[in-house]
Amino acid sequence: MMTSSERIGDVVLDVQDLRTYFVTRWGVVKAVDGVDFQLRKGETLGIVGESGSGKSVTALSIMRLVPSPPGHIVGGKVLLEGQDILQLADGEMENVRGSRIGMVLQDPMTALNPVFDIEDQVGEALRIHKDMTGEVLETEVVDMLRKVRIPAPEIRMKDYPHQLSGGMRQRVVGAIGISCDPAVLIADEPTTSLDATIQAQYLRLLRELQELTGVGIIFITHDFGIVAKMCDRVAVMYAGKIVEQGDVRQIFNNPSHPYTEALIQSVPKMEVREERLYSIPGQPPALWELPQGCAFADRCRHTHDKCLEAYPDVFDVGDGQVSACWLREKETVSAES
């Protein structure tokens, strides 16, 4: 395997101050509220959060697939290889989706259309985005299937999804995701959990695809285990904002936001038996009645007055790790002086 420094290149996706709001009968829900992150070529970024944290809406916003109404992208920039795709006309955006930004769904059983054969589904994006037809298209489809190691692709591409095993279906979904050689691949996790062995196969496939194409991957997940296994960098989301972001090892070894720390401590580990898990009190806040200060304050072990008064600034805690927590304020000040 390549080391991460060989694999990772220039910034391909630069998300700046992204804001996506939903207008509901309870008021304006700020599902994504000022999110900043960058993704480099060949890098895997994990966006971790619980339900309602805004991780999936972030992904949908990048694809510009937020259902509207009620959702609106109200601010920010999404620079894909330098171009702000939020400014594109709808028709132009269609050319981006599926070609420069790909998507893979984790559940191979539901991601394929049962009434079309494999050739049709793998070839769809090539036909639309690259105007391929006839033999050229067929050769390309065979090539894609060979890349994801489907045996006898010339024959298997005439099959329908039900004729393939689960593992092969997963590989077909992977082939569709990278068929137009995208710069960014978004992998959104299903809400129901897959079996461990199926999930392991899927993660291995994604790694292979990345090594093959150098695509930058954004992993949307609630599971720190996936982050530990797959990601180079992590952004932790809570109540619509990124509360902490940094290198995966730094985040695990030295979490700088109490939410990240508590979340890592509250997950049981297979490697050791713990006597007692830390459990975070309370529950995630309702997005239509967020407090004035830090959204995590009422569940946090380190809350003080300032947390209730104002939402924390984002502090740089070193080596590219940033944290939106007032606890880090003193450290950064002392570091400067």
Partner: protein, 332 residues
């Protein structure tokens, strides 16, 4: 703590299951020829000691939920016996009193707290329903007891007037736990009790279940696919594959010294808790075969990395290479 109970070897077995089978008929040919049977559970034996947590793990389709359903008497076993507090299933089935006693002593907490609570009932009625059905308590007594139960699981008495949709996922699961506790059961079947919940809520529910176990001396049967959860909660674990238990051992022994190739593959596929943990990746070839037509010999042999001649033809027998550690594999 549950670990103390585990070391107490003299504790009695509360539930013993022997040769449990459930075959579903899924099709019949002309005049009933060529009947097809789906062997969801195909000969399962285990024992749960009082005060312990027994875990059944395996992937979807391995039969762990069907086993739980039979223990809850929601499915009739095709074959096999139970023994609950020394009374076997035959005796229990013949006596109305024993049946009622069994049913109030064996309760369940289900996976999805959105689906397992009736949306049209108030929380008070949901938690109080078992008491209405199975006891002779008056309405005021029931309301009182429901209040106590809600407090016990970390909710407030006044919340008994609310409907399930007014609660978050974690709180709903607490309601499910309160309902399971209502009749002072001895055994609670926990079918994936935390997998539908948010990560930050899972530890709350797991710790609540542990605390209740300590306070009431409860016995749990935990059905789960997440190995870390199993390690945290269980005293003993059985690993199921295609309707059979392929390995069983006390939790620490199983995780420190997994013997069956399938158990090892499952553990290697589990996600690490830290980026520096690199596990040997055991790649299983192929898919879980259909339980309609399981492979001959050892069910696992077509996917097994360590298979050799006898695996294909002969069904392996159970051995105990280490005391109290059962494994069904030709390697041992």
């Amino acid at each position: 703590m549950t670990t103390e109970n585990a070391t107490n070897g003299s504790s009695e077995s509360l539930l013993a299951v022997r040769g449990l089978k459930k075959h579903f008929q899924v099709g019949s040919g002309l005049f009933g020829r060529n009947k097809l049977f789906l062997k969801a559970v195909d000969g399962v034996d285990f024992e749960i000691k009082e005060g312990e947590t027994y875990g059944l793990v395996g992937e979807s389709g391995c039969g762990k939920t069907t086993t739980a359903k039979m223990i809850l008497r929601l499915e009739e076993p095709t074959e096999g016996t139970f023994e609950f507090e020394g009374n076997d299933a035959e005796t229990v089935g013949k006596s109305k009193d024993l049946t009622r006693n069994y049913k109030s002593n064996v309760q369940a907490v289900f996976q999805d707290p959105w689906a397992s609570l009736n949306p049209r009932m108030r929380v008070g009625s949901i938690v109080g329903e078992p008491l209405e059905v199975s006891t002779v308590l008056t309405k005021t007594d029931i309301a009182d007891k429901v209040g106590d139960l809600l407090e016990e699981v970390g909710l407030q008495r006044a919340q008994s007037n609310l409907f399930p949709h007014e609660f978050s996922g974690g709180q709903r699961q607490r309601i499910g736990v309160a309902r399971a506790l209502a009749l002072n059961p001895k055994l609670i079947v926990l079918d994936e009790p935390v997998s539908a919940l948010d990560v930050s809520i899972r530890a709350q529910i797991m710790n609540l279940l542990e605390d209740l176990q300590d306070e009431h001396g409860l016995t749990y049967l935990l059905i789960a696919h997440h190995l870390a959860t199993v390690r945290y909660m269980c005293d003993k674990v059985g690993v199921m594959y295609l309707g059979r238990i392929v390995e069983e051992a006390p939790t620490e022994e199983l995780f420190d010294n997994p013997l069956h190739p399938y158990t090892r593959a499952l553990m290697s596929a589990a996600l690490p808790s830290h980026p520096d943990i690199e596990r040997e990746e055991i790649i299983l070839t192929g898919e879980v075969p259909s339980p309609l037509d399981p492979p001959p010999g050892c069910h696992f042999h077509p996917r097994c990395p360590s298979r050799f001649e006898p695996c294909e033809g002969t069904v392996p027998v159970e051995t105990q290479p280490v005391p109290d550690h059962r494994v069904v594999c030709h390697l041992y």
